[in-house]
């Protein structure tokens, strides 16, 4: 007799007719944290079957990208996983740089690492704290939210916007980091560890939280791989696959960090893996910040590679120099031909391997662009994860997977 059966009231055979009911969870349900629908087939409170419907915010990014020059595609990537837009932006820049054969300076790489790891923290802290909300603990959510705000303020200093960041350019950043950005980063590095510790104290050994999450929505490593899981969800199942380690980009090979793994792949493990990853991210940011400070003299001012065909010239040059004006015009109008080629490049996004498959035929826009969205791929396992569990568990499984509707639907 399984654990579920013990909790389930067993009626004598034939006392009432067997009946299941259908429940529409979503598309606009406060507990789904996004626009997608789950049709659940319930036997009492136990889930017999589930079917997901996605596509409510499909915006045809792949089609749109076929008529845009490279730099105009960055804002589209913002809107994939909007909890960690900078990672998407950087992933796209790195893809373009791979196709165009651009080598970025080390300082740019380290600054990118800082921004990407900040984005990872902001992504994970939302997911972990929302799991708390769904198990009935609101405090943790509000507590860490202040620090997401601080991360957004850092983005704001670097690129001027907060949620959909459009941060960086092909070849580097649009401007150098200013002192306020670094001061806020120091403040974050100083204050956030205490907050994260407190947050973990609230949840990790919390009886109610553990009972609600342990053994719920578990998946074996084998099934997780077969379902194409990546990122924290795969690592929670015990596979140490991390794009940052397997195919390093943006000089991740220069950093020391651990890849935390779980064992059962259930909601509790996913929660633990995400929390542990936040600690690793903090350590990476510290290392990167130290490396950035080590640059002296002219090197300390470098914030982009020298690629005049793709990187916008300075405004004062545009007004005074002919060549700069020509480049400015060519870039803005999308007049530059992209070399032809086929490239696949992936970064470790908040949810896993975020891949960009870009085909160029030598025109000014991509011939074809495909996004490998981790969310879309692992959400199909949802039916298997929630089968035979309770309705209230379905909500926690959903929040522990960190499903982002923008990434699902592209």
């Amino acid at each position: 007799m399984s654990v579920v059966d013990q909790h389930h009231v067993m009626l004598p055979e034939g006392s009432i007719g067997k009946q299941t009911s259908t429940l529409n969870l979503g598309p606009t349900h406060p507990a789904t944290h996004g626009v997608f629908q789950n049709i659940l087939e319930l036997d009492g409170e136990r889930i017999v079957d589930a079917e997901q419907t996605v596509g409510y915010i499909h915006r045809a990014f792949e089609k749109l990208a076929e008529r845009r020059p490279l730099y105009q595609i960055t804002p589209l990537t913002d809107r994939l996983n909007y909890c960690s837009s900078p990672i998407n932006n950087m992933g796209w820049h790195i893809t373009c740089e791979k196709l165009l054969g651009i080598k970025t300076p080390k300082r740019v790489d380290y600054l990118r690492v800082i921004i990407m790891e900040l984005a990872r923290i902001s992504d994970h802290l939302i997911c972990s704290s929302v799991m708390g909300v769904d198990t009935g603990a609101f405090t943790g959510f509000l507590y860490v939210m202040q620090y997401r705000e601080l991360i957004y303020e850092i983005y704001e200093e670097v690129c001027g916007s907060r949620l959909t960041t459009n941060i960086g350019r092909i070849g580097g950043f649009e401007r150098n980091f200013n002192d306020i950005a670094f001061r806020k980063l120091e403040q974050f590095l100083d204050e956030y560890p205490k907050v994260l510790k407190e947050f973990e104290n609230l949840f990790t050994r919390n009886r109610i939280f553990m009972e609600r999450t342990m053994g719920i929505g578990g998946i074996s490593a084998e099934r997780a791989l077969n379902y194409g899981f990546t990122g924290p969800n795969l690592r929670a199942a015990g596979v140490d696959y991390d794009v940052r380690v397997h195919s390093p980009y943006s000089s991740y090979e220069d950093f020391n960090f651990n890849v935390p793994v779980g064992s059962t792949g259930d909601c509790y493990d996913r929660f633990l893996v995400r929390n542990k990853e936040m600690w690793e991210s903090l350590s990476i940011i510290r290392q990167a910040y130290q490396k950035v400070q080590e640059f002296k003299g002219e090197e300390a001012e470098v914030f982009h590679a020298d690629v005049p065909e793709y990187y916008l010239p300075k405004k004062e040059d545009v007004y005074t120099k002919m060549e700069a004006l020509i480049y400015h015009f060519k870039i803005i109008m999308g007049e530059t031909d992209i070399p032809s080629g086929e490239v696949y490049s992936a970064v470790e996004g908040g949810n896993g391997e975020l891949g960009f498959y870009l085909i160029s035929d030598g025109g000014r826009t991509p011939y074809r662009l495909h996004f490998r969205r981790p969310c879309f791929i692992y959400y199909q396992a949802y039916t298997e994860l929630v089968k035979d569990s309770m309705l209230s568990d379905a909500i926690i499984v959903m929040s522990s997977l960190n499903l982002i509707a923008g990434e699902l639907d592209a």
């Binding site: 996605v54 086929e342 199909q380 396992a381």
Partner: protein
């Protein structure tokens, strides 16, 4: 022994003599193609062979090449051997009039939705798929929107001259204007303005 692109190529050529062709290595990623009837055989060999072990399907999508007669649609698989950390790209071409390709969803659960997405946008009919219906678009849609014959902008617009900025010619779909229709429209407009005058 580390798994190299050369080893994979030799193993494939040995197993599928002459069937697996078009070996390339753009940006170091081994790329090859096979006839569409044997896509499943190749995938299964790559999956089950002890040495190759490509057991992780990273990505599956399609590409439309209208100029290639008889092989207009390409289905592209990105596979990953996580142990050796080697990636490969495998392509299968099919004609657009009867785009039947065997499903990989028996081998990889992850292919299920990715194939539905590919069907949704390109109309590739995955034979044997358990639930081949649209996934992101509405069920009532009657066309496959990512095919190249569907231009992004409204084709009846005549106020915009994209040729000026060179974007009209991209991908050989620049001459989307129906010259005949365009003339009728502008003539009609001229008549309108005459009437106003």
């Amino acid at each position: 022994m580390a798994l190299t692109n050369e080893t994979i190529r030799l193993r494939l050529q040995e197993k599928f003599t002459g069937e697996v062709t078009g070996f390339e290595e753009p940006f170091g990623l081994l790329t090859f193609s096979a006839p569409k009837d044997s896509n499943l055989k190749v995938l299964q060999f790559l999956y089950e062979d002890a040495e190759l072990g490509f057991q992780f399907l990273t990505d599956l999508c399609a590409v439309h090449y209208p100029e290639r007669r008889g092989e207009e649609l390409a289905v592209v698989y990105h596979l990953h051997n996580l142990v050796e950390n080697v990636r490969i790209r495998f392509k299968v071409y099919t004609n657009i009039s009867q785009p039947d390709v065997f499903t990989a969803s028996k081998l990889f659960e992850s292919a299920n939705w990715m194939e539905r997405e590919t069907y949704d946008f390109y109309g590739v009919n995955f034979v044997g798929h358990p639930n081949l219906k649209r996934i992101l678009n509405v069920d009532e849609m009657e066309y496959f929107p990512l095919r190249k014959e569907f231009p992004l902008e409204d084709q009846t617009r005549i106020d915009k001259d994209d040729e000026m900025f060179g974007r009209g010619g991209t991908n050989g779909f620049g001459d989307r204007w129906d010259e005949e229709k365009l003339r009728t429209i502008s003539e009609a407009e001229q008549n309108d303005s005459k009437e106003i005058l």
